[in-house]
């Protein structure tokens, strides 16, 4: 093997290493770009006024996004109230009954559910919860309600919560459960007093991630929560939310509406970033050392 050949091979090696670095960096670029554009366009428009006012009609200056902010919070809270208990319980079932037939089907369903496009989830919620409440031509609003939007989002949260709960609890040593059982504890106490408290950080991080995941979902809300130009807190009625507001305003022909869309995007982004950081913190802080 002569020197030239070695150099060529080394060159290839360095070239490949360089390529790996460059492509790894390329993964960071989209996030940086998103942050850059949204912060640049949105940060100057964010003020107290924006957060406490509802949108003004076209051609009137000012207006805020309070209705969307409140709407998003309510819709997500209701979705969490529906999805968290079901998801955690199902996760407990899966970790306790690894081989049963129901566990197999449950696991398969949650896996598939995770891959179902959000618009399809929205359509299902529409047929279940919107159409049946459409009381005919007198009620022009159709049957749209924040609750139907929450159900759609809850369906999207479920698989994440179920699987993260299952994975967390599966990692706990059997000796922990045996210790509890050997003290004569009934099953529900073993679960709620020992297994869940020890695995709480993993379960919570799954919950937080699922919330972060649905915060920006627009498609399932389009024909369920529908949107509402006014501030509404009635979950039986249409309600606005941040993603819907962004969708409507960004595609509108008015400049000040575009600005609102940018600010709303920034707020949404901050929300999701905050959730992710918060998840990391609680995972570390509440982790029970085994």
């Amino acid at each position: 093997m002569d020197g030239k050949n070695i150099k060529f091979r080394l060159g290839k090696s360095y070239g490949f290493q360089g390529l790996v670095y460059v492509l790894a960096f390329a993964c960071v670029i989209p996030l940086l770009a998103i942050l850059y554009f949204i912060i640049k366009a949105g940060v100057t428009k964010i003020n107290w006024h924006l957060l406490v006012n509802i949108p003004k009609p076209v051609n009137e200056v000012g207006g805020g996004i309070a209705n969307a902010l409140v709407g998003s919070i309510i819709i997500i809270l209701v979705a969490s109230v529906i999805a968290i208990p079901i998801g955690i319980m199902a996760g407990i079932y899966l970790s306790e009954n690894r081989k049963s037939r129901l566990a197999y089907w449950c696991r398969l369903s949650t896996d598939i559910l995770q891959g179902v496009p959000s618009i399809v989830v929205g359509i299902v919620a529409y047929f279940w919860l919107v159409r049946p409440w459409d009381l005919g031509p007198i009620h022009h609003k159709g049957g749209f309600s924040a609750l139907s939007g929450s159900v759609a989002l809850a369906i999207m949260m479920l698989p994440i919560i179920v699987r993260s709960t299952e994975e967390t609890l599966k990692l706990l040593p059997d000796s922990l459960k045996e210790a509890a059982l050997a003290l004569g504890m009934p099953f529900h106490r073993v679960i709620f007093k020992v297994i869940v408290p020890v695995g709480i950080s993993g379960i919570l991080s799954g919950v937080m991630l699922s919330v972060a995941r649905i915060t920006g979902e627009t498609a399932p809300l389009l024909f369920t929560a529908f949107g509402n130009p006014y501030l509404s807190v009635n979950i039986g009625k249409p309600m606005h939310s941040l993603p819907l507001l962004i969708f409507n305003y960004a595609t509108s022909p008015y400049n000040d509406w575009h600005d609102l869309a940018w600010s709303a995007s920034l707020i949404l982004l901050i929300w999701v970033l905050f959730l992710n950081i918060f998840t990391k913190v609680i995972t570390r802080k509440w982790k029970v050392q085994l």
């Binding site: 922990l176 003290l183 504890m185 408290p197 029970v288 050392q289």
Partner: protein, 252 residues
């Protein structure tokens, strides 16, 4: 005359089609230390776990035959009730990692939802920790997590947790195999103290340990109870050839 606390007749246990405990007949006298020894895979741990019905928790595990606690059939009682009367200490110390030392001792009451006045709780904690010779070492750090203790201390904490429930029988599944020699000897000394109030059944694969601590010894081989006798007789004058082979180290 000594009274029998645990009595099994024709007791069998299996994992699926794997028959691990075969036709075991044994009478265990009250307030004695019984060592159960035998080579790996001889069914000694499985038999132990059958006594407080932990065996049936494993998927596919079955058992049949007679297992009596004070003339009451364990398999007719509710398992939760059985486990309150027959406590268990495991091979590896397993304190509840999310609870303090204090709460670990009182766990059997606290996690079962039994409300006790604080004075009574304090008394149970102190009494239990004193019984396992841990009180002096931890009395100033009762609020620290159980996992903060050393392995030997954790194991004694687990014994205290079991003792706190005031069971009649305590099962030990190779309680010292994860411990260093000094912790092992502390735990062994403990056995003698505990004997006054409880019946101890200790599974061990350490023959010297069986000889040191027990009053009676049972030798399991390939799922059968080969020999069960006074420990002294067993180690000096075994009746069965297989026991002799095991004791003299011809197989292990």
């Amino acid at each position: 005359m000594e009274s029998t606390i645990i009595k099994s007749r024709n007791f069998n246990a299996s994992f699926g089609t794997n028959h691990v405990v075969k036709n075991v007949n044994i009478d265990i006298p009250r307030n004695h230390i019984i060592a159960v020894m035998g080579p790996s895979g001889c069914g000694k741990t499985t038999y132990l776990r059958c006594i407080n019905r932990m065996h049936e928790l494993i998927p596919g595990a079955t058992s049949n035959g007679e297992m009596k606690l004070n003339d009451e059939d364990v398999y007719q009682m509710h398992p939760i009730f059985v486990r309150l009367k027959i406590g268990m200490v495991f091979q590896r110390p397993n304190p509840f990692p999310n609870l303090s030392i204090y709460d670990n001792v009182i766990a059997g009451y606290k996690l079962n939802g039994v409300k006790l006045p604080k004075a009574e709780r304090d008394e149970i904690v102190e009494r239990s920790l004193t019984k396992v010779a841990l009180w002096k070492e931890v009395k100033d750090s009762l609020n620290k997590k159980g996992s903060f203790l050393s392995g030997g201390q954790q194991q004694r904490l687990c014994i205290a947790r079991t003792v706190a429930m005031e069971p009649e029988v305590i099962l030990f599944d190779e309680p010292t195999s994860a411990l260093d020699p000094i912790s092992t000897s502390t735990v062994e000394e403990l056995f003698h103290e505990l004997k006054a109030n409880y019946t101890l059944i200790i599974v061990t694969h350490n023959m010297q340990q069986a000889a040191r601590v027990s009053d009676k010894t049972a030798f399991f081989f390939l799922g059968e109870l080969v020999e069960y006798d006074e420990t002294k007789t067993m180690f000096t004058n075994p009746k069965d050839q297989r026991t002799q082979n095991y004791i003299t180290g011809r197989f292990s």
